[in-house]
């Protein structure tokens, strides 16, 4: 097994291009796109019409800017419209007395975050106003109560709290691209098994004293390690060289990466047990990788997907759970307990794929 494992590194040393390309693509993609986006909270132009006076509008702005997710700026309608028209920002907000409208210039994942943010603030505010009419002074009371709580309740849940979807474009991009490109690295290193069966080196190993499970283990071990190293190096690079804020539990991100890598190795093994022609694999792997990445939320947040079928499909994809767990830890600051379920799902998914794949291969070589 050791010989087979070491050989794969030797082959990587002689032919590193594909893996380096996947590593490089991730880094370039994330750094360029993230640099293109603004750092700090996104600026959102805000305008009000005659239904609201300047004073009221200003109060709203203060309320909205009370949280730091977005940077709202009040301006005349014409100015806000020209911002959007010229594409400087993707959207602007039109404040109404008890409601709001979004002026959307182009699709931006942040729109959904903005929408849910506004909805939350508005409903809180409107509820407070209602309450104030029956109980004057409740706002002041509440504010003092909030600043001096009798007990704190911390909520940890898988997706974070339902209506507090936080969008962190930078990390979404980093996690999505990393988990996407690593699929190629892993699966194309597994294709070596298929190649060996074709060129005959596999037969050479079979008729040697090395056992078949050792041959598989050597290959799987390599594929796992090369994929896992790629993810880890990218996380390290972006955390330390690019200064991405990855939360306080870096080790947990690495553990998630390991579980995810395992599931993809297993899925890859299943694919090569089903499809045994290298040329066909060359077509199937990109389809699988891209398809999973799209549905599983690597290209845009899964929160944007509303189609029931796609959502159901995404529940069967390891990348969905990988992204969910990474986001949960890095963006929401959750701990191991919060991501235990996605991790178990990844490991379970991997084990099932691997069991099926090994059965299939044994059955095929016996017949």
């Amino acid at each position: 097994m050791k010989a087979v494992f070491l050989l794969q590194w030797r082959r990587f040393y002689r032919k590193p291009l594909l893996v380096l390309a996947m590593f490089g693509l991730t880094v370039i993609f994330v750094s360029v796109t993230a640099a293109g986006g603004q750092s700090g909270p996104q600026m959102i132009p805000v305008y009000a019409d005659e239904s609201m006076n300047n004073q009221q509008a200003q109060t709203w702005i203060e309320r909205l800017n009370g949280e730091e997710q977005f940077q709202f700026e009040l301006m005349p309608e014409s100015e806000a419209r020209s911002y959007v028209a010229e594409g400087d920002v993707s959207q602007a907000v039109n404040l109404l007395e008890a409601d709001y409208r979004l002026l959307v210039g182009r699709e931006d994942p942040a729109r959904f975050a903005l929408d849910s943010f506004l909805r939350r603030i508005y409903s809180e505010e409107l509820r407070l106003e209602n309450a104030e009419q029956t109980t004057p002074g409740i706002r002041a009371e509440m504010e003092s109560a909030l600043s001096d709580p009798a007990l704190t309740l911390s909520v940890e849940s898988l997706q974070g709290e339902e209506d507090s979807f936080q969008y962190n474009g930078q990390l979404q991009l980093l996690f999505g691209m990393t988990l996407f490109f690593v699929i190629y690295t892993i699966m194309f290193s597994l294709v070596r098994i298929v190649d060996e069966k074709r060129t005959g080196t596999w037969s050479r190993m079979i008729i040697s004293p090395v056992r078949k499970w050792q041959m598989y283990l050597g290959h799987l071990g390599y594929s796992f390690l090369i994929g896992f190293s790629q993810i880890t190096l990218i996380f390290l690079l972006f955390r330390f060289a690019f200064g991405f804020e990855l939360g306080d539990r870096f080790w947990l991100l690495i553990a998630i990466a390991a579980c995810y890598t395992f599931s993809i190795v297993a899925l890859g093994l299943l694919i090569i047990s089903l499809i045994t022609k290298p040329q066909q694999l060359g077509a199937v792997i990109p389809i699988v990788a891209t398809g999973m990445a799209m549905v599983g939320g690597a290209f845009w947040p899964i929160e944007l997907v509303t189609n029931e079928i796609l959502l159901a499909v995404s529940k069967a994809l390891p990348i969905t759970y990988g992204l969910q767990a990474l986001t949960s830890v890095a963006v929401y600051g959750n701990g191991l307990k919060a991501v235990a379920i996605p991790l178990l799902l990844l490991l379970g998914f991997g084990s099932i794929c691997m069991a099926i794949a090994i059965r299939l291969m044994e059955w095929r070589s016996a017949s």
Partner: protein, 310 residues
């Protein structure tokens, strides 16, 4: 030391190997001859424990290897028909890996690599990548890889296909040395008769999955001992004349090649008069007439009605 008993392999719609019983004695060099599709590679796959037979058995020193392939895998070296190497690696790296598969390491491994590289004459080019080698050099590494663990039995599946005469001679010479000087038992598969004539003591001839003849070279040729081969060269091709000649009484086998015709006839057949008579009638010029004792090629032709190579 190694034998197969009624070895049979059925695929969906072909019987690739049919009731084949072979014996390899210690130190012997045995040829396995057969045209394309005869079942040679399939037989080798079963002997080397790569493939399970449909029926029959393979025995090493009297013990079946089907249930316990371990001993066979240790003593057997197989040179596959296709070049089975990591072409992005160097010859040295390939050999190192195949040596490690057999548990070699350290100094012993390095020494063995040096030895087999010397054997196949590639010691000075061991650092080059296999993909940059010529076909003949790749074949030599292909052989070297099977030699790493000092096998007691070496099975070669058409090791000289598609290589230049120089590499081929080198390879044949190497195999002869291994067999004669080091006492290695060799099973040599080919459809080049000359190679088998040169290398092997004993020969099995296979066709359509069956062994159709076996024996020493002399024994096999004795099948045709009361016959002789007449090779006639003409100035050009005369299809009708060739047909006519092959119908002369007594001719047992006729093969036409571009400008020449080969006839197998019983000894003492009076052929020449008829030959010149017919040639005259067709206006053909006889350039050369050559009477030979039969070769293994002729034996094969006689047994199967086919030539070894298409």
């Amino acid at each position: 030391m190694l034998e197969t008993q009624q070895l049979t392999k059925k695929f969906k719609d072909t019987i690739a190997v049919d009731d084949v019983s072979l014996v390899l004695r210690q130190g012997e060099s045995v040829g396995l001859l057969g045209p394309n599709g005869a079942g040679k590679s399939t037989a080798i796959a079963m002997i080397s424990t790569l493939m399970k037979p449909s029926s029959g058995d393979v025995k090493l020193n009297g013990k079946s290897v089907l249930k316990k392939p371990g001993e066979m895998r240790r003593v057997l070296g197989v040179v596959p028909q296709k070049i089975a190497l990591y072409e992005e690696l160097s010859a040295y790296e390939n050999l190192k890996f195949f040596g490690r598969l057999y548990g070699l390491s350290g100094n012993k491994l390095e020494q063995r690599i040096d030895y087999v590289l010397e054997l196949v004459g590639l010691a000075d080019r061991k650092k080059e990548l296999v993909k940059n080698y010529s076909g003949g050099m790749q074949r030599r590494v292909n052989l070297a890889a099977a030699m790493m663990h000092e096998p007691e039995v070496l099975i070669m599946d058409e090791p000289t296909v598609g290589i230049d005469p120089q590499s081929r001679n080198h390879l044949l010479e190497t195999i002869r040395k291994l067999n004669q000087d080091e006492g290695m038992t060799v099973l040599y598969t080919s459809h080049y008769m000359e190679e088998v004539e040169k290398l092997c003591d004993r020969v099995y001839i296979m066709d359509h999955g069956k062994v159709i003849a076996e024996g020493t070279k002399e024994e096999l040729k004795a099948i045709l001992s009361d016959q002789e081969t007449v090779l006639i060269d003409f100035d050009q091709n005369y299809p009708e004349l060739f047909t006519k000649l092959s119908e002369i009484e007594g001719v047992q086998q006729a093969t036409a090649e571009e400008h020449s015709l080969k006839l197998i006839i019983p000894k003492g057949t009076r052929l020449l008069a008829a030959l010149f008579h017919e040639a005259e009638r067709y206006g053909a010029q006889v350039v050369n007439v050559n009477v030979q004792t039969p070769t293994l090629e002729d034996v094969f032709l006689r047994l199967t009605g086919r030539k070894l190579r298409d």
